[in-house]
Amino acid sequence: MIGPQTDYAMLIASLPPHALSLWDVQNKSLSRVQLDRHLSLLRDEDKQTLNNIEAALHWAKMPSIKQAQLAAKNADQLLSTLDNYFLEDVVIWRLQIRTIMAAIRYRKLKPSLKEAAEFQGYGEVVSRIKKNWQTEDFTLNNRFPWVKEANQLFNANETVALEKLLLNLSWQHYEKIGQGHYFDFEAVIIYVLRWDIINRWAKNDEQKAMQQFELLVEQALII
């Protein structure tokens, strides 16, 4: 009983705290190499669980619409290996967000009600989405109040604002569910998932900086 609990206390205390707001984060406080060095304090089974969750929720591994069925199958496999309701909720919540966003994108391609039947996703939201395919927020506004705004941003092609909305949504959700978890495995998972969000945002800035750099180089060459 004492062993894992104290291990988590040591790991959590060794990690620098995240900023209060995602937008306050100027630079990543830890590189992935440094984070992995800290995470080496975890036991093997915890490392495996963390890797599986990260792999399933990683932004880069977000499947295309054609792969939705495979993604849902993979998610089911992951959830069957988790014996922790908290972690199940973390995974399901993110997969539902992805499903809703996929539905918004898919609807733009195939707006007719007939084609809604082809849509695939994860969770109980899928049937509701199909039933309310032509409603702006899929009548999910009570449970997911951000859907309407996300749809409007998507249709207005405000990709950066949409990205910020989704990142902030995850950031705040993790902060909320992380209350009460301070020195346990759940706190480690929340820390790493929030680190992933920071990393995602910081990378965006890097890409922007690179584009700016290329533009300046081109201008210099023209001159």
Partner: protein, 149 residues
């Protein structure tokens, strides 16, 4: 039946010390490992981290004092009183040490990021200590009602 009562009496006599020690072990272990973790991420203030992590050790001392106060020949007459006071004060000391350890771990983590709040961050742990002191003092007070055997 009488033998059982005597066994309960002995359990009650040793319970404050044993349960207090269990609580102190768990509390100090959590806070201690948090202190070690904080040392990995900071360049100074190590002494204060270790000092805070030792806070839950006071419960075992209270337990020892209660045990000595309860110490008397265990007879059928005194066994129920020893059991009641000993076990309940022991449980209070144990839980206060465990949760104080978690408060200390949080204080260490918070003061690592903001050293200026160190004093205030230890306050919750001190409040928990206060409850342990209540359990300790009133165990001593009420134990005077148990006959000397």
């Amino acid at each position: 039946m009488n033998d059982f009562l005597l066994i309960f009496g002995w359990v009650g006599l040793y319970a404050p010390m044993a349960l207090g020690a269990v609580g102190s072990i768990m509390g100090c272990a959590v806070a201690g490992q948090a202190a070690i973790g904080a040392m990995l991420d900071t360049d100074s203030g190590y002494g204060r981290y270790v000092g805070v992590s030792a806070m839950p050790s006071s419960q075992v001392i209270y337990g020892i004092v209660v045990m000595f106060t309860l110490n008397r020949p265990v007879t059928l007459e005194v066994a129920p009183g020893l059991f009641g006071i000993g076990v309940l004060s022991g449980l209070a000391l144990m839980f206060s040490a465990i949760y104080q350890g978690q408060c200390c771990a949080s204080a260490i983590q918070a003061s690592k990021a903001k050293p200026e709040i160190f004093g205030l961050s230890v306050a919750p742990a001190a409040i928990v200590e206060g409850f342990a002191v209540f359990a300790f003092i009133f165990a001593l007070v009420i134990s005077t009602n148990i006959p000397q055997g």
